[in-house]
Structure formats: C-alpha cells, structure tokens
C-alpha cells in the first residue's frame, strides 16, 4: 500500500493498514540502531525543524537523533529561548521558522490541537511530538513496536493502562493504535483521572474503566504505566501515599497479569510512586527498549514524510545490510 498522509498529527484518523505500514517501515531502522555506524545519507541536505513549546528531554533528543541518523540537519527551538514570551503568536513563530526553509516541522505544544492548527497554515509536513492532553503519535507507534517485538503480535491483546488517563496524550495514542488491531483496554486509576467518558472515545474498541488495580491487572498481556505528574497531585490535592496504596505497580500485583505480560512506561518514571524499582528493572519491563525503538520509529516517520516514499521504494536501511540478517532477529 502507499501512504497518503502528509502530516502525522494523530493516530486516531489512521487505518490499521496505514499504522501497520508505519510499523513495518520502522523495522529496518531498528536494525540500524544495532550497527556500530548508525548514520545514513537518506535525507542528506534536508532540514528538520524541532519546535518544542513545552519542555521535553527524551522526545526532543530522540527526534534530533533520528534526523541526524538519516543524514538530515536539524534546527532547534525551545520554549525558553523563543520569542513567545515577548508576545509573538504561535503562528508568527512558526512562520518565522518556516521562512528558514526546513523540510519538516516536529512540534510539541502544551495546547491540545495546536499542531492541527499549525498544520492548517503550513505547506511542509508537520509531526506532532505531543499536543497537550490529546495525542503523542510517535510514542503510540514506538509502544506498538515494542509490544510486537516482545509478544510477536499486537493483535487482540488485553491492554491495561494505569494512572492519569484523562490528562495522558500517550494513553489516547495507544488506544487509537492498538484498538484498530483488536486489543481490549482496561483503564485504571483514581476516579477523577479515569472518567467514564473514556469508554466512548474510540467507537469499536472495547474500553472499560475500573478503579481497583487488582481487577485491572487480571489477565493483562500489556501493562502501560503513565507517569504520575506531580503537578497533578496538587490539583486536585491527592495524597501520594494514597496513590501508592491503591495504584502502585509492585511485583505482587503484577502476578495477577498474564505469565508473559510486559510493562511499558513512557518515562520519566517516578520510582517508588507509580512503579516499584523491582518491577521497573525486572524482566517484564521494556522501558529501555521503548527508548531505543523511539529513534527507529521517528526515523521512519521523518523518512516517509520528507521523502514521500511508499512501500514500492527500496527501504534505505536495507541498502546497508543484507536482508537475511535484517530479519534474523524477528
């Protein structure tokens, strides 16, 4: 199939075929991460603008690394250094960046929909690196890739997401991607963070909200932890002790999940709050694989959007390695 998405703003509107295509395209880039020399020349001469209007460490570095490993240059804008504080509008800031002629804009913003809004006004591809509490598409893709690597499939799994679902862009992207492959979701956390409306955000995907972690973990194949944002603990005031008591993922609770269940966390983790060190560092944890896969997924996104390549094009990562060995780790 060929893809016809110009931007990557959200996973919700994409079909299972399109999502599968993105994941398949990421696979050869995963192999590149194992090479001693990881740099390709695929996007040489191209420029990726990284505009982060909200602080980010790993996503920004991950996109920057992805661009660099494809041979592209990047320009960086960070909120602290921007002119937004001088009263410039978002659109003016973005137009100024665009006037420096990048080939793609990767953008993070604290307002939901800000990337949709910007993309309506730009003629270069826009990649959403997280917009408010809406979506974080590349995180959703890297999570799916990690699950597929560990469990061999992303189809028909029982997925449990724990934490502040209401304010999580990661959870929404997870639901919209995995839901299209038949996964069933159990969402669990304090009731004010897990409103019943969540059960209806993805028609066709079974989603249930539960408020006891023991129930939520029963039979889970995949457990996705969300960071407890300490600023959210202030509004409304919620005791960290209560959170640990009711919702912390520890080894004992994890035993309720499937034997082979895996644990994901988008980071940064609060060890000792939402997750115990024992689980975070245990054999079921995939947190560092997620980070590695993040670079591969973002290489695939940048490659596809900037080059406009389709499935019939030879994958650039395969040019540097024989096909057999690329498949060896499947």
């Amino acid at each position: 199939m060929s893809h016809n998405f110009r931007d990557l703003l959200a996973l919700e509107p994409l079909t299972a075929d399109e999502l599968g295509f993105l994941l398949d395209q990421s696979k050869p880039f995963q192999e590149i991460q194992k090479h001693p020399l990881k740099k390709l020349a695929t996007l040489r001469g191209k420029t990726v603008a990284l505009a982060f209007f909200e602080t980010s460490t790993r996503t920004r570095i991950s996109f920057g690394t992805a661009a660099s490993r494809l041979g592209a240059d990047s320009m960086n804008l960070q909120a602290e250094a921007s002119s937004l504080k001088k009263g410039e509008t978002l659109l003016d800031t973005v137009f100024n960046l665009n006037a420096m002629k990048p080939d793609c804009l990767v953008m993070r913003h604290a307002a939901s929909g800000a990337t949709d809004y910007v993309a309506r006004h730009l003629d270069i591809p826009v990649v959403n690196a997280g917009d408010g509490t809406h979506e974080h598409p590349s995180q959703g893709l890297l999570d799916a890739l990690t699950i597929r690597d560990r469990l061999g499939t992303i189809k028909n799994l029982n997925v449990t997401i724990l934490g502040d679902i209401l304010h999580s862009r990661v959870a929404r992207s997870n639901i919209h991607l995995l839901g299209k492959f038949g996964c069933k979701f159990t969402l669990c956390g304090p009731a004010m963070w897990v409103p019943r409306e969540l059960e209806k955000i993805a028609p066709g995907t079974p989603i249930r909200c539960v408020y006891r972690i023991e129930e939520a973990l029963e039979g889970a194949d995949v457990i996705i932890m969300l960071r407890v944002q300490t600023e959210r603990l202030d509004d409304p005031p919620l005791s960290a002790n209560d959170y640990v008591l009711l919702y912390q993922l520890n080894a004992e609770r994890l035993r309720r999940a499937s034997m082979n269940a895996i644990v994901l966390h988008p980071g940064p983790m609060n060890r000792g709050i939402e997750i115990t060190p024992e689980v975070a560092d245990g054999p079921q944890s995939c947190v560092l694989e997620q980070v590695t896969n993040g670079v591969a997924v973002r290489m695939a996104i940048l490659y596809l959007l900037i080059s406009g390549a389709t499935e019939t094009d030879a994958h650039p990562a395969l040019e540097v390695k024989p096909k057999e060995s690329a498949n060896a780790s499947d």
Partner: protein, 424 residues
C-alpha cells in the same frame, strides 16, 4: 411617512396573521389595515412587502458592542450595522466594556455614541457590581436614570450568593431585571469546552453542564427569596432548563434566553477551531434537544445572539488561548428559520414571538403592531436562498462558525423609528 404594503403581518400579541398594510409616521405606527385600504398622503414612501413577513421589530437581549475600549473588535456603529442586517431593531449591550459600564457616565457615553452612529436602538445593560468585580453594588439607580434596561455582570456570574441576593433585592425595588451569566466558576475553571466524550477525546479541558445548572439553581432560589425579576442568559443545559421550569411552575418572575448557536450546534462540532469556542460552550446532543423542546413549549422566553466579536489577532490562536465568543446578528434569523420552523418544531408565529414580544416582556415593555406603537419593524422572507459570507459583514470581526452556510429565508428590511435602516 412610510407605507409597508401587502406584507404578511405577524403579531404574536394579537395573534394576527394576515395580509395588511402598515403606515408609519415617524416614530410611531399610524395605522394598520387591510391591504389596499390604508390611505396615505401624497409623497409617502412605499415598501412593497408582498410575499414577505412583517413582524414587530426584533430585540436582541444579549450583545457585545465592545465600545468603549475594544474598538478594534467592534464599535457601536459597526455592531449596530450588523444588527440591522440581521433584522434587529434594538440591541441590549452588555456592560463588560473597558471601562465597564458600571456608572451613569459610561451609560450616557454609550447612548450618545448610539445616537450619533447607531443604526438601531441601543439599550445598555449596566453592571451589577462595581467593575463587575463582585464586591460592591454598582450605581444602579443612577444608571437607570441614564437609561439602562437591566443589570448583569455578564462574562461571569454575580460573584457570591450574598451579593446576588442584594442586587436582586435592590433591583426589585428599582423594577429592573437581573440578567445572570450563570456559571459556577470553580467548577468551570480553566475549561475551554463542554465536558463530555468529545472533550475527553480531543484532550481539551471540559466544564460539566453542572457548572451552569448549579448556578441557575442558586439564582432561581434567590429570585424566590427576593421576588426579583431574574433572566438567565444564554441557557445551554437541560438541567438549567429544568430549574427555570421549576421556577416558572412556582410563579416566580424568572425568564431565560437561548442562543442560535446552542440550538444549532453541539460539542461534537468542536474541532480545535476557535470559531466554535464560546461560553457557555456548545452543549451535548441531549441538551440541544431539550433547548429545542423548551423553545417550543414556552419555557424559553427569548432568542438572544450573544454577539461577541473578537478581532482576528485575538481569535486566531491555539484553541486553549482563544477568547470565548462568536458573531451572532446576521445568522440568527436564518438559523431560527432552519432549525425551528423549517424543521417543523415551531410555528412561525412562535419563532417571531421569541425574537419580539418574548424579549420585550423580559424588559417589561410591550411590542406589537398597532397604531401608536413604536415604528420598529422587521421584514423578512421565507423562501429566498442566500449564503452568509462573513467577509461581507459590517462587523469588524470575522469569528463566525457559520461562514459559507446556505440559508433559506432571512432579513429583507429593518425599520427603526419609521426609517429603513437596512434593505436587502
């Protein structure tokens, strides 16, 4: 003199629905009679309203003209031009200008500006509290003498139950209606749309319907306590409507208005486009159904636009940062015809009532087509098709979600004080 002949005169007070001629003499209606039977002196201007509806002049209880202080978004001159194009002959402007209309000199300024540049009548609403800050009661009596028709801290509710009670007590003695923007601010805090599946899906902060209805519950009970005339502004939630129904069943002097956008659109229409951002926000599907039922059964007293212009620089930003509010004048009648009449939910007479005698009653005045009445008339067609192009609007702002929408029927002429101020 001006003779409106051959029009289908609709008058909700006398239940008239007949082809009549209406002769206007300056500020007053001189005579109403069977078509062709009303004698007019030599030199009388004639408007042939054949095939059109002739209604009492439309009154909009809820508008923002932005003058003084925010003239880059709207002025009394441009706002009333847009009102005239929408068929409105009188508009009640909210006091949240800069400075706030909380004293007689601001009231007089507004009326002076309206006299010079206004296309339609401007009836100011005074602030309930000084600066609408919810602390001290504004100089309501002096503003009444200067010409206000009601009080409101619109944009927000009267801050505390105690102050709301005092304002209601005071306004009862002054015979002024208190118009409430009913919202529990703590419950709504920081929200940009209605809470529900759509806000959850979009990741936008939502305010529950209860943010409105708990405040309406407070206000109707205070209306009972004080005996004041309470008018609930831009009511959007089913639960709020239930409160108003309860109040009316107890014989309280409580009324309410609904905007065209709330009876037309719902929260599912929001797609990160700030032209769909207003307060109260677009409500749930079932709320819209309840509003339509309330408009039909008489629970709702008036259609008001909440015309809220914002210049592009303010509105063309991230959804979270955009101010609340949309334009309302020029699409109000088209939307009402489409959503209420053409859909078969309301009779044409009932719709006319919601634009005319309904709002007039809220203000404690009479409005009908009869000799001796003010010569304010709204003439509209039922069958012509037209498209709303916001770029052609006399308003200084462009924040309408209805740009490019096609309508069947709409304003043909607006007559204020015996003078045609807009003709299609």
């Amino acid at each position: 003199m001006l003779l409106i002949k051959n029009g289908r005169v609709l008058d909700p007070v006398s239940k008239t629905d007949a082809t009549l001629d209406v002769l206007l003499d300056g500020e007053k209606i001189k005579e109403v009679g069977p078509a062709g039977r009303v004698a007019s002196p030599q030199g009388t201007e004639v408007f042939d309203a054949r095939g059109m509806v002739v209604a009492p002049g439309f009154i909009d209880l809820h508008v923002h003209l932005r003058e003084p202080g925010q003239e880059s978004s709207e002025t009394i001159e441009t706002g009333t031009q847009a009102a005239a194009r929408g068929g409105f002959t009188a508009v009640c402007c909210m006091p949240n200008t800069k400075p706030v209309n909380d004293n007689a000199s601001v009231t007089r300024f507004i009326l002076d500006r309206a006299k010079v540049g206004g296309s339609v009548r401007v009836w100011p609403i005074g602030a309930a509290s000084v600066g609408s800050k919810g602390e001290a009661i504004a100089e309501i009596a002096a503003m009444k003498e200067a010409g206000i028709v009601a009080v409101s801290d619109d944009g927000k509710p009267i801050a505390t139950a105690k102050l709301a009670r005092q304002v209601m007590d005071y306004c009862r003695s002054l015979e002024l209606p208190v118009i409430e923007h009913s919202e529990d601010v703590s419950l709504a805090g920081g929200a940009v749309m209605r809470e529900g599946v759509t806000s959850t899906r979009l990741g936008l902060r939502g305010m529950p319907a209860a943010a409105e209805s708990v405040c309406v519950a407070r206000d109707v009970q205070l209306a009972e306590l004080t005996g004041a005339r309470l008018h609930v502004a831009h009511l959007s939630a089913k639960a709020s409507l239930e409160q108003v129904r309860w109040a009316k069943s107890r014989g309280l002097r409580v009324s309410c208005e609904v905007t065209p956008h709330h009876f037309t659109l719902i929260d599912e229409d929001v797609q990160y486009d700030s032209k769909f951002k207003m307060n109260p926000p677009l409500a749930a599907r079932e709320d819209r159904e309840a509003l339509l039922a309330g408009l039909a059964d008489g629970t709702v007293d008036a259609i008001a636009t909440d015309h809220a212009p914002h210049e592009a620089a303010l509105k063309d930003v991230e959804f979270d940062r955009a101010p609340f509010g949309i334009l309302g004048f020029e699409t109000a009648l088209g939307l009402a015809l489409e959503q209420l009449v053409q859909s078969g939910r309301l009779s044409l007479m009932r719709m006319v009532e919601l634009f005319t005698t309904g709002p007039a009653r809220v203000l404690g005045i009479e409005r009908k087509i009869a000799a001796g009445q003010p010569a304010d008339l709204t003439i509209f067609g039922l069958n012509h098709t037209w498209t709303y192009h916001v770029k052609e609007s006399p308003s200084k702002s462009r924040n309408s979600p209805f740009d490019g929408r096609n309508f069947k029927g709409g304003p043909m002429a607006t007559i204020v004080g015996g003078r045609i101020v807009y003709k299609q």
